[in-house]
C-alpha cells in the first residue's frame, strides 16, 4: 500500500499542493487527472523522491520517504514528462546508463537490456543514436530506461504527450503487460480517455488540491447519473425543459432526469406527435470528464 499523507508544497508565494492525501493499492493503476498547472507534476516529483522540501509524508509499505528515501527509490521507476535521454549516444548506451545508476550488475544488465528492447520494440534500433529516432520511439525508450531495475512502482508523468497513435498503443500494451505482472502504476495525464482506459482508481486534482479520489466505478456511481443526449432540427432548450434539467453539450443537449429510460420513452412519443426528427437521441453515460466538471466547474479539455 502507498499512503500519501497530507502533502503540501509551496513555491514562494504559490501554493502548488495543499493537504493532498490518498492511498494506492499495490498492483493497481492509479490515475492522476487535472488540467495543466494543477500540480500533477509537482506531486509526481514528490512521489518519485526528486523534491524533498515538502510538508507531509509518503509511506510505501513500511518505509517512509522522509527516512528511507534511497530504499524506496530502488523500488520506484520514474518516467518524466520530458524525454530525458542522451541524444548523441545510442539507445543501448542510454539503457546502460540508467541500469547502472540503479546498481544492476553488468552481466544481468546485458540480459535485461535485451528484454527491455524487446518490450519497447526497439531491438533493431539498439545501436542507433537516439537523435535519429522519431518522437514515439524516444518516448518508448524513455519508458524503457525505467524498467531495467524491475521496479514495483512506476510513476509515469504524461508519458504519451505528442506521439503518434501507433506509439501510444505500443505504450498502452506495455502498461497492460506491467499491470499483469503486478507492477503498481501511478499515471498522470490530462488525456482523460487514457486514464479511463488504463486505471482502476483515480485522483482528481485542481489548483493544487485533491478534489476527489477513489475507484473509478465508485466515482462514476457517486457523481454521474445517466442522462439523455439529444440533437436535431427543432429540438431546443425550451422544449426539453418540460422533461428535466437541460444543459448544452456540443451540438446538442443533455437532459438530466431521475428516470432517463422513462423520459426517453416520453421524448420519443413527443417527437413522433410533433413531427420532430432528432439526429441523435441516446442514453448518455457520464465520464470522468463530466465528474471533473461537476466538481470544479472547469472543463479539462479547454485548458
Amino acid at each position: 500500500m502507498i499512503n500519501v499523507e497530507k502533502i503540501s508544497k509551496q513555491y514562494g508565494s504559490l501554493q502548488a499542493l495543499k493537504d493532498i492525501s490518498f492511498q494506492i493499492e499495490e498492483g493497481t493503476c492509479f490515475g492522476l487527472v487535472g488540467p495543466n498547472g494543477a500540480g500533477k507534476s509537482t506531486l509526481m516529483k514528490i512521489l518519485s523522491g526528486i523534491l524533498l522540501d515538502f510538508e507531509g509524508d509518503i509511506r510505501v509499505r513500511d518505509w517512509k520517504v522522509s527516512k528511507d528515501r534511497l530504499k524506496i527509490k530502488q523500488h520506484i521507476g520514474y518516467v518524466p514528462q520530458e524525454i530525458c535521454l542522451e541524444e548523441t549516444l545510442t539507445a543501448r548506451d542510454n539503457l546502460l546508463l540508467f541500469g547502472s545508476l540503479y546498481g544492476v550488475k553488468k552481466k544481468e544488465l546485458q540480459k535485461r537490456m535485451e528484454e527491455v528492447f524487446d518490450q519497447i520494440g526497439l531491438t533493431e534500433r539498439a545501436k542507433d543514436k537516439v537523435e535519429t529516432f522519431s518522437g514515439g520511439m524516444k518516448r518508448r525508450l524513455n519508458i524503457g530506461c525505467t524498467l531495467l531495475h524491475r521496479p514495483d512502482i512506476i510513476i509515469m508523468d504524461e508519458p504519451t504527450v505528442g506521439i503518434d497513435p501507433q506509439s501510444r498503443n505500443s505504450i498502452f500494451s506495455l502498461i497492460h503487460h506491467l499491470k499483469k505482472s503486478g507492477t503498481t502504476i501511478i499515471y498522470s495525464s490530462h488525456y482523460i480517455e487514457e486514464v479511463e482506459q488504463l486505471c482502476e482508481s483515480v485522483g482528481l486534482i485542481d489548483k493544487g488540491r485533491l478534489i476527489e479520489y477513489g475507484k473509478m466505478e465508485d466515482l462514476l456511481e457517486r457523481y454521474a447519473k445517466p442522462s439523455l443526449f439529444i440533437s436535431g432540427t427543432g429540438i431546443d432548450e425550451n422544449l426539453l425543459r418540460n422533461f428535466g434539467d437541460v444543459e448544452k453539450k456540443g451540438n446538442g443537449y443533455l437532459l438530466n432526469s431521475a428516470h432517463p429510460l422513462l423520459t426517453l420513452k416520453k421524448l420519443v412519443t413527443h417527437c413522433h406527435e410533433h413531427n420532430l426528427e432528432p439526429h441523435r437521441l441516446e442514453l448518455y453515460h457520464p465520464r470522468l470528464e463530466d465528474i471533473f466538471f461537476h466538481l470544479t466547474g472547469t472543463q479539462l479539455r479547454n485548458i
Binding site: 530502488q74 530525458c84 549516444l89 546502460l96
Partner: protein, 247 residues
C-alpha cells in the same frame, strides 16, 4: 557514479568543438605568441617560453568552464537532472560523475600543451612530481569553479559571459599575458588574489628555478582551497538547480 562519468566522457570525446577549444586553439596561440616575442631583447628565449606556454595553458584551462556550463544547463533544461535525482545515487555521486571527465580533460590538455612546448620550444619541465601536483590543483580549481558556475547560472549565455570575464580578466590581471612585474603596483596586489597568478608563479618556479612541492605549497593551498570553495558552492546551490530542472 562511474556510469555518469563514462557517459560524460563518451559525449566529450564526440564533441569536435571541444577538441578545437581545448587543444588546437591553444597551440595556435602558443606558436603565434612565441614567434612574436622570441625576438625580444630584454628576455631570454627560455623566459619567454616559460611565460607563454604555462600562461596560455592556464588561460585555456579556464575555458573548460564553458563546456561545464553547457553540459549542466542542458541537463537541467532536458530534465536529466531531475531524472537522475529520482535514482538512488546521491548528490555527491552525481557531482563526482560529472566532475571526473572534465578533470581528466583538463589534465590531458595540460599534458598535451606542455608536451608540445617541450618538443617544439625546448620547454624545461623541472620536478615532475611538483608539475603533476600543481597541474592537478589547477584542474581542480577550474573544474570546481566550473561546477559552481554551471549550477548557479540561470542561462547558458550568462555562464559563457561570466566564464569569459573570469578567464580573460584573470589572464590579464593574473599575469598570463605579460609578467606581473611590468604592471602597476595596485594591479600586482589584485593579481595575488587570483588563481591564475598562483598557478603561473608555481609553474614558473618549477620550470625556471627547479622548485619542488615544498617550495610551492602556498600556490597549491590557494588553488585547492579556491577549488574546494567552488565545489562547496555547487553543492549549496544544487537544491535550487534541481528545483529549476524540467521533468
Amino acid at each position: 557514479m562511474w556510469a555518469i562519468a563514462r557517459m560524460e566522457l563518451k559525449k566529450t570525446v564526440q564533441d569536435k568543438g571541444l577538441w578545437f577549444w581545448t587543444f588546437i586553439l591553444p597551440i595556435v596561440f602558443i606558436v603565434a605568441f612565441v614567434a612574436i616575442f622570441s625576438g625580444e631583447e630584454n628576455a631570454s628565449y627560455q623566459e619567454i617560453v616559460t611565460q607563454i606556454i604555462p600562461g596560455y595553458t592556464i588561460m585555456f584551462a579556464f575555458f573548460i568552464m564553458i563546456s561545464m556550463v553547457i553540459v549542466f544547463v542542458k541537463d537541467r533544461e532536458r530534465g536529466m537532472v531531475a531524472r537522475i535525482a529520482s535514482t538512488p545515487i546521491s548528490v555527491y555521486q552525481y557531482f563526482f560523475g560529472k566532475w571526473v571527465p572534465f578533470m581528466i580533460l583538463v589534465l590531458v590538455q595540460i599534458a598535451v600543451l606542455f608536451s608540445f612546448g617541450v618538443i617544439v620550444n625546448d620547454l624545461p619541465l623541472g620536478d615532475p612530481l611538483a608539475l603533476l601536483v600543481l597541474s592537478l590543483a589547477l584542474a581542480f580549481i577550474v573544474t570546481g569553479w566550473g561546477m559552481a558556475m554551471a549550477v548557479i547560472v540561470k542561462t547558458e549565455n550568462m555562464g559563457i559571459a561570466l566564464t569569459q570575464v573570469l578567464a580573460l580578466g584573470g589572464a590579464l590581471l593574473g599575469g598570463l599575458w605579460m609578467p606581473v612585474e611590468f604592471m602597476p603596483e595596485f594591479v600586482q596586489t589584485i593579481s595575488q588574489s587570483l588563481p591564475q597568478y598562483w598557478a603561473l608563479q608555481g609553474y614558473k618556479d618549477i620550470l625556471l628555478s627547479g622548485s619542488d612541492i615544498t617550495d610551492i605549497w602556498i600556490n597549491l593551498l590557494f588553488l585547492i582551497v579556491a577549488g574546494a570553495g567552488g565545489m562547496g558552492l555547487a553543492l549549496l546551490f544544487y537544491p535550487r538547480f534541481l528545483g529549476h530542472s524540467r521533468s
